[in-house]
């Protein structure tokens, strides 16, 4: 062993591990959000950003408060909510059902996967006129559009999730002579749940996009109608109020799924 000396001083070993492990940070998201809004507020107040480019955040807030006070907020939100709820529920349930069937039966998979792949990239908004002809101008066509739009991503996520269920658990079920139905209900379905829920996150965001699209075409009330009206009047404050409401809706949905995951997937490490 070499001696420690003047020419040969002891050195601490350099640390080179760490990183590559995302840690939760509760405040970063909110802080960035607040910073951005503050920047906009300062920009618009100083005149650096003209009122034609972007509305002042405080004006958007006061528009929102007016909307709340006048009671119009709920008049727009309630129909939007019910369209979203009904459309997304229909789309997601069919999506999960068909997705599971695709995951379980090879013949269905061979037949339906190409079909779903063909439908997936069609912008569903483009089909809205067709839906209006099929289902009429009233609520049904809006439900159909939202349902159709949530259906395809849910199917893809669901059969992927079923494919990813640990086969050794299924073999275990068979080795204990569980019935086919038991294996599907007690092993495949819970095993696919993480994938299904993360697919649902995407599907529901798409549902919100389609909700607005549907409401822009023939709806008296609804967030989409509100935004369309504001846009055609070039009322940026109201436009941004509507957009902010949509963002909040998206945040709320994502939080709801987060809670659902916590409740259903508490078993995950």
């Amino acid at each position: 062993m070499p001696e420690i000396s003047q020419e040969n001083p002891p050195k601490t070993v350099l640390f080179r591990g760490g990183g590559f492990a995302p840690r939760p940070n509760r405040w970063a998201g909110a802080a960035l959000f607040i910073a951005l809004i503050a920047l906009l507020e300062m920009g618009t107040r100083s005149g650096f950003i003209t009122p034609l480019t972007l509305p002042r955040p405080s004006d958007v807030l006061s528009t929102f408060i007016d909307l709340w006070n006048s009671g119009l907020l709920w008049k727009h939100l309630v129909p939007s909510f019910s369209r979203l709820l009904i459309g997304a529920t229909i789309g997601a349930s069919f999506g999960i059902g068909i997705g599971i069937l695709i995951g379980l039966f090879s013949l269905l998979r061979a037949g339906l996967v190409p079909l779903v792949a063909a439908i997936f990239p069609i912008p569903k908004i483009a089909l809205l006129p067709l839906f209006v002809i099929w289902f009429g101008i009233d609520e049904t066509s809006k439900y159909a559009l939202i349902a159709f739009g949530t259906f395809t991503p849910t199917v893809v996520a669901t059969y992927g999730a079923v494919d990813n269920v640990d086969r050794s658990l299924i073999r275990m079920g068979q080795s204990f002579s569980l019935s086919w139905f038991s294996i599907v209900r007690k092993i495949v379905l819970p095993g696919a749940m993480p994938g299904i829920l993360s697919g649902l996150r995407i599907s529901l965001a798409i549902a919100i996009i389609l909700l607005v699209a549907a409401e822009m075409l023939g709806a008296e009330y609804g967030i989409g109608a509100y935004i369309l009206e504001a846009g055609s009047l070039y009322n940026l404050e109201r436009l941004f109020t509507g957009v902010a409401i949509l963002s909040l809706l998206g945040l709320g949905m994502s939080a709801a799924i987060g809670l659902l995951e916590k409740w259903l997937l508490g078993w995950r490490t």
């Binding site: 050794s168 073999r171 275990m172 080795s175 569980l178 038991s182 007690k186 078993w267 995950r268």
Partner: protein, 255 residues
């Protein structure tokens, strides 16, 4: 109930995995199957329990399983195969649910097997909270719950560290001593084989066929760590396997 393997052979595509396996599995005994890696011992176990169909030959059941046996051929897997979303109790309940047993009977069975595997305190725990040894105890409890006629154990201790393995081996010996069960025990660990097996079947490398069946007459309870006779048996088994293992190690995997 005895099991008899008649001229079992198996192939995956063009590869012969098993050839001409004739073997008796007598009731109340533990038969260990050892062999170099890739010799088809796990495949053989899957064939015995009907999870795979042999290409040739058949597995014959002689005599009926006891009337109260819910699942005569029951596996214990190397990777435990516990449902991570069910508690210890729920995992055992899973295999009882399809048999139309009353709630009270289920309760009695669960309490009984948890006591036998010393898991009573962990009844509500989720698998993620348990150590590997505990998980395998749960899997053994689950297997015991269906009162198997033959337990098919696929390297049950291979995923555990050597201390835990010792503990679980003692537990298995205790379980067997209290109530003799029939088991086919696949392992690559010769020490486990001589500690637990009434008979040790040595398979050759692929295509696996039986090279020798070594009977060990010492009662299970007397087989302590470092028992001279066992050491000798283990040495004998190693001598049988050494060249095979070396050749198997140097084989190219034709994917």
């Amino acid at each position: 109930m005895n099991l008899q393997l008649k001229k079992i052979g198996h192939r995956y595509g063009a590869t012969d995995v098993l050839q001409d396996i004739d073997l008796d599995i007598p009731a109340g005994k533990i038969v260990c199957i050892v062999g170099p890696s890739g010799c088809g011992k796990s495949t053989l176990l899957r064939l015995i329990g009907g999870l795979e169909r042999p290409s040739t030959g058949q597995v014959v059941q002689i005599g009926d399983p006891p009337g109260d046996s819910l699942n005569p051929l029951t596996y214990v897997f190397q990777d435990f195969a516990l449902l991570p979303w069910r508690s210890v109790e729920g995992n055992i309940r899973l295999v009882l649910e399809d048999h139309g047993i009353t709630n009270r009977e289920t309760e009695v069975i669960i309490s009984d097997v948890l006591t036998r595997t010393k898991l009573t305190d962990f009844r509500q725990a989720l698998p993620k909270q348990l150590s590997g040894g505990m998980k395998q105890r749960v899997a053994i409890a689950r297997a015991l719950a269906v009162k198997p006629a033959v337990m098919l154990m696929d390297e049950p201790l291979s995923a555990l560290d050597s201390q835990t393995r010792e503990l679980l081996m003692d537990d298995l010996v205790n379980l067997w001593t209290r109530e003799a069960f029939t088991a086919v025990y696949v392992t690559h660990n010769l020490n486990e084989a001589v500690r637990l097996g009434h008979a040790v079947v040595v398979l050759s490398r692929r295509p696996g066929c039986i090279r020798e069946v070594v009977d060990i007459d010492i009662p299970l309870a007397e087989r302590t760590l470092g028992h001279p006779d066992l050491e000798r048996q283990q040495q004998h088994l190693w001598n049988l396997m050494r060249d095979e293992a070396m050749a198997a190690d140097q084989e190219l995997v034709n994917a």
